[in-house]
Amino acid sequence: MKGSKYLPIIPVYIGYLVLFLIARGMPGMWQLMAMLVFYCAVGQAFNIFFGMTGYVNFGYVAFLALGVYGMALAIHYFHQFSWLGLGIVIIGLLLAMVMAGLLSLVVGAVALRLGGAYFAIATIGVNEGFRYLIEGAKIWGGSEGIIFSKQMTEAFGREMANRLSTLWADISVLLIAAVAALITLYFIKGKIGYALMALREDEGAAKVMGINVTKYKLIAFVTSALLAGLIGAMAWGLKLTYVFPPEVFDISYTVEAIVIVMLGGAGTLLGPVVGGLLYGLAKYWLTVILPGFQLLIFAPIIIVIVVAFPEGVVGVLKRRVKGTALEPFIL
């Protein structure tokens, strides 16, 4: 009986396993699979806050950006200590989490006490604000960013550095996605899940029922931010070996996260995975046949989903499998 709580994770992990096997097995598929996993991971991290609380964080990409900076700074400052070896990567990850976490605490503590509209307003400025802080105060490389490929070679040796960028970065994203899925499951089924459900449905009633809504919103917000930081550190940092403010603070990544989660089904476990796969494949396909048109196609899709189809693919799926044998697996 106890174990049955974890059944819903099975389809998710099967999905990830399949992606991994395809990537390893079929030549030339690695990059595409890596991109799909990236979108699933981003979707899951974003879903933990957006899907579970119903609040929109328009500045989401800033957490990914801080993640890259964390990794970049770690490599930049510690690369001479090559005796640390892969410890530098660990430092980078820790730094990524600390930075993303701090920003989320600051923004969250100020903005989460207020309602959804004010919160959205507060987060609009997070990208802009932080990016211009970096450029304006000329910290962390200012508007030129940081390029650390050479420093990686110095720190880890050419071969290792190469493997980190091409193999381990992507595998880490897969691992992060798997962890995010587990956390999501815990958030849905556990006490936190009840609190978040209540505050999402009716914040006023939730308060009267004894729920400290600000605390729970903050927990979801910070968790989502920490995961985003890790993803940024790996998928952008280690993999691309440079960070450039206009790119990493680009709001289109937030748009993508919104599309992925809403398309798949906000607040569900399987939703971001499905959304990530669908979106990733659609984008890949579009880039091939209609480059430059992605936003123009996806923005109206957001509207259509929001107006006509708010529960997303998995939302509809959940309703269909009610009462069937599949029900415990689809969450």
């Binding site: 006490k191 209540a198 449905e201 009716d202 009633a205 029922m209 004894g210 729920i211």
Partner: protein, 247 residues
């Protein structure tokens, strides 16, 4: 020590004084009825007690601890439960999950896990007679079923004081009698839960309340044992009628 004590509580909205210098005390285990015409300030009074509003003047005490400025969720932990005039179920969750929320975050918060909470929820769902519906999505319930669910949800909080706002509105007299009987039962069993209501429906008030508080234009008009209060000429005048016949 009074369970709940209000001291000269005044709540204003701009120029409108909704609650005007109200003193109130409720002892543990009492059943009180709060009545009054529409706009007399009953629901506002409730909102001040449960923490949704902060009064401009006056103080609120729970077990002699001042809670005037305490946020609603903390009051719930202390033992204040409430239902709403217009049902506020958590619409996309099941009845069971709804009631479990009460169990998880009421007076037992921090000491109860999800599985236990669900079991507790089942108990209260059965108590109000909704067992067949417990896995139904709350949003699909009828208004009466929603009200019953709210009662179960508030009870699952194991409160010391239960504020019920128009719980009986729209109910068939048979259902009202049943609910009143239920509440009396619960009061006896749980001992701790004290139930106060805000009702237009005299049938419920007379059946249930030992003491009645009558509100009028934000002021407390009368605060006396039920029979006495309903015969009070001031009350009769306010309700524009003749003295209530015993049913």
């Amino acid at each position: 020590m009074a369970l709940l004590r209000l001291e000269k509580v005044t709540k204003r909205f701009g120029g409108l004084v909704a609650v005007n210098e109200v003193d109130l005390h409720i002892e543990a285990g009492e059943s009180i009825g709060i009545v009054g015409p529409n706009g007399s300030g009953k629901t506002t009074l409730y909102n001040v007690i449960s923490g949704v509003y902060t009064p401009e003047e006056g103080r609120v005490f729970f077990e002699e601890q001042e809670i005037t400025f305490l946020p609603p969720y903390r009051r719930a932990h202390l033992g204040l439960g409430r239902t709403f005039q217009i049902s506020r179920p958590f619409g996309s969750a099941t009845v069971r999950e709804n009631v479990a929320v009460g169990a998880l975050f009421g007076t037992l918060h921090g000491r109860i896990g999800v599985d236990e909470a669900l079991k507790l929820a089942d108990r209260y769902i059965e108590l109000v007679g909704l067992s067949e519906l417990k896995d139904k999505v709350a949003g699909s319930l009828t208004p009466v079923e929603k009200k019953l669910m709210e009662v179960a949800r508030a009870l699952a909080m194991r409160p010391k004081l239960l504020l019920m706002d128009e719980a009986m509105a729209g109910m068939h007299p048979k259902d009202i009698d049943r609910l009143v009987g239920l509440l009396k039962e619960i009061k006896e069993e749980e001992k701790i839960a004290m139930v106060a209501m805000v009702e237009h429906i005299m049938r419920a008030v007379v059946g249930f309340a030992e003491r009645v508080v009558v509100m009028h234009f934000g002021r407390k008009l009368v605060d006396a044992p039920t029979a006495e209060a309903l015969k009070d000429p001031k009350v009769v005048e306010v309700y524009l009628g003749c003295p209530l016949e015993e049913k």
